[in-house]
Every structure is written in C-alpha cells, then in structure tokens.
C-alpha cells in the first residue's frame, strides 16, 4: 500500500514537473527541436534540471543494498548499441518532432483534458502494442553464442 502511494506520488510530481517545465505545450518542444526557427531552449533547461538532480542523487540511491519498498532494484543490464536501439530511437524522434508529444507529457495532457491527447495517447498505445505484440515476436532471432535472452527481447 505504501509502495503504491509512493508510486502515485512519484507520478504526480513527475507530471507537475512536466507541466511546470512547459513540456505539456507541444509548441515548446518543437520550438526547441526546430533550431532554425524561433529557438526556445526551455527543453534543454528541463533536461538539465532533471539530470542535475537525478545524476547526483541517483548515485547515492543505487549504492544502497535495496530500495525502500521493494526487494531489489530493477535496472537495465544491456550495454550494447544495436540496430533496434538506433532504429527505435530514430522512429521515436520523428514522432516526437511531428507531434511535440512524448509518452509522459501525453498522459499528463490526457489527464488535463487536452484534445490533442485524445488522439495522441490511443495512437501511442496502439504503436506500443503493434511493436510488442506483432513486430517483436516476429523479429526475435536465435541467440548468438554468449548472448542472454535480454538480447532478443
């Protein structure tokens, strides 16, 4: 129960951060990405603020033996740069530059009743399902020597 409240609280703070940072205004996102237009560096300040806090504090947190309300940390383990990482990031970037929404802000926008989110969020969920349920199972390949399952997931 405490863990659920903690998770909810984190989501709430995250949302407030996004809204305060201007990231629920797609024009500010595109205003940053399109550096040839009337450039708005705000997004960089959002990123910078987030990194300044999380890069510093995260080190102390990860040094702990375990999280407070969970048995262990669940952290990514992969270190390789593969085609999926690059292709996926590239595709994500196109969608982000096109709509000015990424997953977090789109959900905050949905909660806030933004019309655009009513289109973006279902489409985003559809895109996720398209990958997870249709694309990924079809491209899973035999493991190469030394690879773990994580390499094909």
């Amino acid at each position: 129960m405490t863990a659920l409240l903690a998770s909810f609280a984190c989501g709430l703070v995250f949302a407030i951060g996004l809204a305060l940072g201007g990231m629920t205004q797609p024009s500010k996102v595109v205003g940053f990405l399109d550096f040839t237009g009337a450039w708005d560096p705000s997004l960089a300040f959002v990123m910078g603020g987030a990194l300044a806090v999380h890069a510093l504090l995260g080190r102390f947190v990860r040094a702990r033996p375990r999280p407070m309300f969970s048995a262990a940390f669940t952290l990514p383990t992969r270190n390789d740069i593969d085609a999926r990482l690059v292709a996926g990031s590239a595709i994500f970037g196109v969608g982000w530059g096109l709509g000015g929404f990424c997953p977090g802000p789109s959900l905050v926008a949905l909660g806030g009743g933004m019309d655009a989110a009513l289109v973006v969020v279902p489409a985003m969920l559809a895109g996720m399902l398209l990958h997870d349920r249709w694309f990924a199972p079809r491209v899973n390949r035999p493991l190469r020597s030394g690879e773990g399952l994580a390499a094909v997931r």
């Binding site: 659920l4 998770s7 909810f8 609280a9 984190c10 989501g11 709430l12 703070v13 995250f14 949302a15 407030i16 951060g17 809204a19 305060l20 940072g21 201007g22 205004q25 595109v30 550096f35 237009g37 009337a38 708005d40 705000s42 990123m47 910078g48 603020g49 987030a50 990194l51 300044a52 999380h54 995260g58 262990a72 952290l75 990514p76 992969r78 270190n79 740069i81 990482l85 996926g88 595709i91 994500f92 970037g93 196109v94 982000w96 709509g99 000015g100 990424c102 997953p103 959900l107 926008a109 909660g111 806030g112 933004m114 655009a116 289109v119 985003m124 969920l125 399902l129 398209l130 997870d132």
Partner: protein, 141 residues
Amino acid sequence: MEHFTPFSSLAGGMLIGLSATGLLLLLGRIAGISGIVGGLLAGEDLPWRGAFVGGLLAGGLLTSVFHPAALTMTLDRSKPALAIAGLLVGFGSRLGSGCTSGHGVCGISRGSTRSIVATMVFMSTGAVTALVITQLFAGAV
C-alpha cells in the same frame, strides 16, 4: 529566443529528477514512461505501474485546475498527423527500449552509453522532423 522560460523549465526539470530519484529509491524502478506503460499493456506489475500512471493523469487534472495555460496546443497539426505522431512515438519507444525519460533522464544519469546514443539519435531525428515541417510545410501538417 522566443517563449524561453528558463526558471520554470529548470524548476520543472528538477521536479522530474526528484520524481525519478524517488521511484528509484522507493521502488527500485526506472522512471521511463514508455517502459512503465509498455509493461502495463503487457499486464506486468499492474499495481505500481497503474499507480504511477494514475499519478501522471492526476497531475494533469491538477494542472487543468490550477494552471491550465500549461496545457495549450498551439501547433497546427491535423488529427491524422497527431495519430501518426503517436504511433511513431509508441512504436519507436518500445523498439528503442526507452524515450526521453527512460533514456534521456534516467539512462544518461547512470552514464549509460546506450542511452546517450539513443538520446542523440532521437534528438537528431526530432530536430530534422521539426524543421522540415517548419520549412517545407510552413509549420502545418
């Protein structure tokens, strides 16, 4: 530099960093929204994922009450364009194992080369896409 909001953006970013640190400290999880939602769609660990997404939605609701100006859409985008954008963001984030929060904030904070590369790639394609729309489509699609 138009519409530049250095202080609120920095403050907002710091709250995001605080939230991510909180999720890591309390639940030991990465605050990568695409990963959290993807897991939700797969029916994994519904309680904490649902709670986190609930927090995002609740935050949106609060914003609509106390600071509705933060929720304005001034981009000229048709419904089909928004749908395609959403599709690409959804598909791409799952294929690439993360998004701006997962890779950009959490991954870079851990010094992950994968995340640094991912962020550089999506920033680049994002920039090209945005400027193509501005320059070739007069900012309206």
